[in-house]
Symmetry: C2
Subunit: 243 residues, 2 copies
DNA sequence: CGGCAATTTGATATCCATCAATCGGTGTGG
DNA sequence: CCACACCGATTGATGGATATCAAATTGCCG
């Protein structure tokens, strides 16, 4: 499915080398690389840009299952066909590898398979966070979590080890309000209003549609009920940090 | 995390034999076998009964992440400690195995590891169904999906290969309204009202609190927007069935 | 600068939550 | 066996959060 390959704290790239020789594809915003229902023959590794994984019901309701960032990958399924679609949100570069090749690699190399398995656990834990958000959190709380999620991925893609790095005072929001809404189980108008609420409460400042300045990170984290997305996930401030 | 070990269509029990010699524990309703935060030292295989996997926020909001049925198992995590709790819903029997033993088994036996990996994919797909439900479906639709989900598990635990088996006209609902609510992201009163709505629409009949008769399975499936939970998951009726 | 699409904002409607009362089954003690 | 108490479920009345519909504004691209 969708994988998180990059973390600040784990050895990585244990099997990403299958993508080394793979062809690279450049994607325009909106371009589709996986369509629900097609045979699942390829896996992709994201080199740059942001993509979205979606599932759309017969009545047109769409759920964004995940966004994909650098070094994430998609495409592996238990079934013979994809049950989700994947499209570019921004300009993006992905490398494409036949699924068979990954299968063989995993079958041949126990270490790779083990690494893969561990990442599956991470993925499950990530998705369960989403389940908790959708089930229990209010609109503004979901948005707070989402902003921290974007901040987290910015940290990973840009290799910013320091949580206080000044670059992290601004959060890049590459996707549309509608994408955010479909990810958070809300409507785009509600997302807009929740941004305004966060701004009125003094937690953030909207610089423009796709750039948010964080004015009160502590309060944002408190509202989100989560400290960060690093693993192990912290529900409270790490020791040494002001709670 | 939480695993689906039993399906109607896949070879199974590839590595469940580690549980053969494991000690068995009998659980009273409400009894806890895993507490969030504890070191993740054990894995469990459910022999009978129903359990729930929950995650509770610091403010007391609780999300039921999953229910567990026969031949499901729980306990493996990417982290050193559990980030969820597991309690018995009904009387239940589980067999308990040191996590280390499972780890070693998977490390030693590539076939087991591969089977494990495949089931992880199933789990992810199941959870993504939940994500879609929580994000896009209304209360009554979520309940319709939930009833089909219980029906599906009844089929698996009782080995009812025939989808039209008369035993499946009644759905057993072992958990409380509050458990259902916390699973579906609703409140218990809303669950009650949605049951009544389904009854007023003629789709079901409440025989008693924990037994539901299905009067119009086709309509229930249509409302749920899903045909069944078998894999590959069908969004429409299988060929040969009346749509 | 003009025009289109995305976003924001406003007014209202709907769905679900909340608060409160009643119902119904179960177990206990008289 | 019945009265009572307790707990979960149901139902009712009301409130609040989010959706919907519509308009105004902003941003973006030619």
């Amino acid at each position: 499915m969708l994988f998180r390959m990059r973390t600040l704290d784990l050895p990585q790239d244990v099997f990403l080398d299958i993508f080394d020789a793979a062809p690279v594809r450049d994607l325009e915003p909106g371009e589709v690389i996986i369509s629900a229902g097609e045979p699942a023959t390829q896996v992709f590794n994201i080199l740059s840009g942001v993509l979205r994984v979606t599932r759309t019901g017969t009545d047109g309701r769409r759920q964004v299952l995940s966004f994909l960032f650098r070094d994430n990958f998609v495409g592996l399924t238990a079934t013979e066909s994809y049950f989700f679609s994947v499209e570019a949100v921004t300009h993006a570069r992905v490398s494409c590898c036949p699924r068979r090749q990954l299968d063989e690699r995993l079958a041949r190399d126990p270490k790779a398979e083990r690494a893969f398995l561990n990442m599956m656990f991470r993925v499950i834990e990530d998705i369960l966070d989403v389940v908790y958000s959708l089930g229990q959190r209010t609109a503004i709380e979901r948005l707070a979590v989402f902003l921290l999620y974007l901040r987290h991925w910015r940290r990973l893609t840009d290799n910013l080890a320091d949580d206080n790095d000044p670059a992290l005072r601004e959060i890049q929001v590459p996707m549309s309000r509608e994408d955010i809404a479909d990810f958070l189980g809300l409507k785009k108008e509600t997302v807009s209003r929740s941004f305004r609420d966060l701004e009125e409460r003094g937690l953030i400042r909207r610089l423009d549609t796709h750039r948010i300045r964080v004015d009160d990170l502590k309060a944002l984290r408190h509202l989100a009920g989560i400290w960060d997305f690093a693993s192990p996930r912290r529900l409270t401030a790490p020791p040494g940090q002001p709670a």
